[in-house]
């Protein structure tokens, strides 16, 4: 990591922390994706809490607060917790969330009991042992970052090599089982990888905030893609970006790194959930509004065409009165039609332009065909059940079925 640290335009400490956050973000993003997709996002929570008895036991055995042995203790306890979760899930009707909860609470209770036992021993070194779970990114050393990078590299490599079985086990357990995939081993392997990610994060952001680091990149990436491989890459990138940005913000504001990284990530999730193309809340609201406007405009065109057919060109208020719709959306729709040149104004009176007349006829035709579908759709004898798109009936039914529907609508026999 030495050359990389020199490359960054930051002070030495800041670059070490930034690199640590980068490594953590990539590892958490890639490994967390599987947990989130399998609806076991909170496995990280349980494993993080199971670290406590591990830390306590490691301290009891070594009698010293040596970071390396505490980390190993946390890792082993996390692995046991992971095995316990998979075991409870596979052998009983308990579902993932409850299995995670049971392991979390029992392991943490054990940790608390062990801590009181240690306190009763009166070893002066024991103070602040539980602080270990909270993490101190500012205290990261270059050596720590090297270890983190090595662990993360191994974990990401394992995902790349094992992508196929991992994908099958995540999305289609039945198929995976019939195809002879050792499901239990794959599940244990994913849990072990998660334990590695948590061990990476324990030093940098602390156990509790690590829970979010596993989930944030995956949730953000999920909003932009439906495919696993791009999602993994994207999640790694999001994790890295969130980690580095958060570390930078924290360094410039002189506040703890972990919380700032998590809050940066939360902001990223909010943006993605609100704005992601096609899925985002605001995006969907915008699409719904555009569709409503389109329908209003079509209805207005049809009404105007009907009135023109029946009598002299109406004024705007006559049109509003005749079609008995709320005035405001009507005026909005009229203004829209005006802009796109579908209506012409003859003083107060309204007419359709040639283009407008064509649009009105198309709208009338579409409406008639939709009624025909509702009336005769069942007798078309389409074998596969489907829900056609009202905006594109021909496209959804296919030309042949649409032709028969047209003949039915015209009153002929099929």
């Amino acid at each position: 990591m030495g050359p990389l640290i020199d490359l960054l335009p930051l002070s030495y400490t800041d670059s070490v922390v930034a690199l640590g956050a980068l490594v953590l973000g990539i590892a958490a993003g890639v490994l967390g994706t599987f947990a989130v997709l399998a609806r076991r996002s909170l496995v990280g929570d349980a494993l993080a809490h199971s670290a406590l008895p591990g830390v306590a036991l490691a301290f009891l055995i070594t009698g010293a607060k040596d970071p390396a042995s505490l980390l190993v203790g946390a890792g082993i306890a996390g692995l046991i917790g992971a095995v316990a979760i998979v075991g409870i899930e596979r052998t009983s009707r308990i579902r993932p969330d409850a299995a995670i909860g049971v392991v979390l609470s029992v392991f943490f209770s054990l940790g608390v009991v062990l801590l009181t036992y240690i306190a009763a021993q009166g070893n002066a070194q024991q103070a602040g042992l539980e602080r270990y779970l909270f993490g101190q990114a500012a205290g990261l050393l270059e050596r720590d970052v090297n270890v983190m990078a090595a662990l993360a590299g191994v974990a990401v490599l394992a995902v790349v090599v094992g992508l196929r079985p991992l994908r099958t086990a995540t999305f289609d357990r039945e198929f995976a089982a019939t195809a002879g995939l050792p499901l239990r081993q794959v599940e244990l392997a994913t849990s072990a990888l998660l334990v590695v990610a948590i061990m990476i994060g324990l030093r940098a952001v602390g156990a509790i905030l690590m829970v979010a680091m596993l989930i944030i990149p995956a949730v953000v990436a999920r909003q932009f893609t439906d495919r696993l491989a791009p999602m993994l890459v994207l999640a790694g990138a999001v994790g890295a970006a969130v980690g580095v940005t958060g570390a930078q913000l924290a360094a410039s504001a002189q506040v703890p790194t972990g919380p700032v990284i998590v809050l940066t990530g939360t902001a990223a999730v909010l943006v993605a959930v609100l704005l992601a193309p096609r899925r985002g809340v605001l995006w969907r609201a915008g699409a719904r509004r555009a569709e409503r406007r389109r329908q209003e405009a079509a209805a207005l065109l049809i009404d105007l065409e009907t009135m023109l057919h029946a009598g002299p060109p109406p004024t705007e208020s006559e049109l509003c009165l005749a079609c008995a719709r709320p005035v405001r959306p009507m005026r909005r729709a009229l203004a829209g039609l005006d802009r796109s040149g579908l209506i012409e104004r003859d003083g107060e009176r309204l007419r359709l332009s040639a283009q407008g007349a064509a649009a009105a006829h198309a709208a009338i035709e579409a409406r008639a065909m939709w009624s025909a579908w509702l009336e005769h759709g069942a007798s078309l004898g389409i074998t596969d059940a489907r829900e056609p798109d009202p905006r594109d009936l021909r496209g959804s039914l296919g030309d042949e079925a649409f032709g028969r529907l047209q003949r039915l609508a015209a009153g002929g026999r099929v």
């Binding site: 009983s92 009707r93 049971v102 029992v106 209770s109 608390v112 829970v211 919380p259 959930v273």
Partner: protein, 298 residues
Amino acid sequence: MIIVLTAGLVATACALLGPFLIVRRVALMGDAVSHAVLPGIVVAFLIFQTRAPLVTVIGAAVFAIICVLLIEALRSTGLVAGDAAIGLVFPALFALGVLGIQRYADDLHLDLDSTIYGEIAFAPFWTVEVGGLLLSRSVLTMAIVVVANLALVTLLWKELKVTSFDPDFARTVRIPPRWVARILLVAVAITAVTAFESVGAILVVTLLIVPAATAYLLTDRLWVMVAVSVAIGWVSAIAGHRAAVALDASIAGAMGLAAGAIFLVALLGSPQHGLIARAVRARRRRSALAAAFSSPTS
């Protein structure tokens, strides 16, 4: 005595709600609340400059409710699964709390241990006088919470049940699933916060999940599940207290371990879903099959 009574009341309050969390697959709501209350404590402290329990509990309760409602809102967008929503909301609130402590309250020792992670061993020492009677404060508050939860569960029994198992059907009979979910989660938040103050967070989280999960192994009927959870809660409280006294260990931790031990027993020995019962059934099936194939019947 007071300690066992407090823990038993906490167990009852939790066991009345826990089964619904288990069947709705949001078992970890209690854990989420336990972390999400931190900013509430900081804000209450900053506004009122006191660590009086009432103010702290109110601040914590406000953020607990914010937490559960945010989780429910995020989940209902349909973009984020329920478990991921939990794991997104509570670390964010916790992070806010950590930042708040570092920024404003670092020198005031406003840490988790002294505020919200109450210690059950101190329960007998906090007393209030009601009508001339000297009562333990935590027993009193937990008794009130138990009565409130009991009232909620009995009054909304039908609604809670139908929305837990079949939200679509609930909608057709005009029971709004989202409102029922919100009411349940707010009850969980308030129960958790008041109980944290009496017995500490980890015991509350444990009592919300483990007895209910154990009961889920033992029965298929919801009301039996609730009753069994309450019973398991009391047994864990009594056994945990005995063990803690004998071993001179943390009372809350020992109670949690007792609940875990009962879970393990149920996992192995449940008559319907236990590992042993299943193994016996599988063996019987195998021998029946073997007998059917070996006997030369038509």
